[in-house]
Subunit: 199 residues, 2 copies
DNA sequence: GTCTATAAAGCGATAGAC
DNA sequence: GTCTATCGCTTTATAGAC
């Protein structure tokens, strides 16, 4: 629809990933998007409004590429194989050193951290979280169809929270990407084994 | 040693927990600590230097109260019981709605998030992380003495990363404290069961 | 070591033309 | 819708007295 608006949101994700929410300057954002500062205030109420929209944008983009890889085979990737492999792929998707993934993960982490002090961001965040947990729970259900719903949800909450913890460590340089990915894969194995015992 | 210095660091943790790293204003910090702005610049090089010292301070304080509860029985708390209970207590310690715990967790989360964009904070952060993982791994070793060292470390990394993820969700209002604590306890159970299978 | 006062710069936000 | 120009407050940081 509105090209400029989208360009600003894309640029906002880029700048947030580069400088953090704390470091986001409307002037730098304007330069990145190739527009004037005033236009940003025209399209978005104020700085916080901009952040809220950016969070929604980042969420959508993440959902979009998760859906893509779930549906059709990625170009250059193998066939999806079984439900366990699809689950692993979905969870490991955020732990990749590709520019747009890193950008999305960084921006997401930043906006989540900001929500601790900015209640306006919480609605968006909670919504995304619920959707994401539900998705993972569904995929776990395909791996372990006999497991009770509540156990699937609990496992999904643990796995997604772990993913966020590992991602934060990776992005802050405390944990290597390789280790983060290994811990994530192990956790999936451990949770799936746990669900098997409940059958 | 230096009373004023410590007072400033304590106040910094308080203000960061209240406003975030981004919201930390030297003026507000000065008021909170009951000193002048200039004194803060006298004791700490600049804003970033202050943050680095505050991160170290928050780490020490967390270690201190973890050690306390591990060593002697908490006032008003039951006897420590077995190694599994001690492990649970240690990991659940950060998921409590007590003012000083919430303050420490919030400040820690903020500083960790800031480290993504501020390499000066990373050293301190990595150090604290290693110590924390080691501690949890040791406690896991007491619960499962037959488990190999590498498996203990991997489990400890997962549990501590999960704790950070759950803590972030709790503090940003996405997850209730009760749910966060439940997920943490379940995860400990799942990991301990996993380690038992490796014996 | 600690304070008051002030410089210097940064930055969000708006007015007004096109 | 979009830009240029600018206002005005906020905030970091320092100078200099005690």
């Amino acid at each position: 629809m509105n090209d400029r608006r989208t360009a600003i949101l894309e640029a906002a994700a880029t700048v947030i990933a580069r400088r953090g929410v704390r470091g986001l300057r409307v002037e730098e954002l304007a330069a990145e998007a190739g527009v004037s500062k005033a236009l940003i205030y025209y399209h978005f109420e104020d700085r916080t409004g901009l952040l809220r929209r950016t969070l929604a944008f980042v969420n959508n983009r993440a959902e979009r590429y998760t859906a893509e890889q779930a549906a059709t085979g990625q170009p250059g990737a193998e066939a999806p194989a079984g439900p366990l492999r699809r689950l692993e792929q979905a969870l490991l998707l955020e732990l990749q050193d590709l520019p747009h993934v890193r950008e999305n993960s960084t921006a997401w982490g930043e906006l989540r951290a900001s929500a601790v002090f900015d209640p306006e961001l919480r609605g968006e965040l909670a919504l995304a979280s619920v959707i994401w947990v539900r998705e993972v729970a569904d995929q776990l259900g395909e791996v372990r169809p006999a497991a009770p719903e509540s156990a699937l949800t609990a496992s999904a909450e643990r796995l997604t929270a772990l993913l966020e913890g590992l991602s934060a460590r990776w992005l802050s340089g405390v944990l290597s990407l390789t280790d983060a990915r290994t811990r994530m894969r192990e956790a999936i194995g451990v949770e799936v084994a746990h669900l098997a015992q409940l059958d």
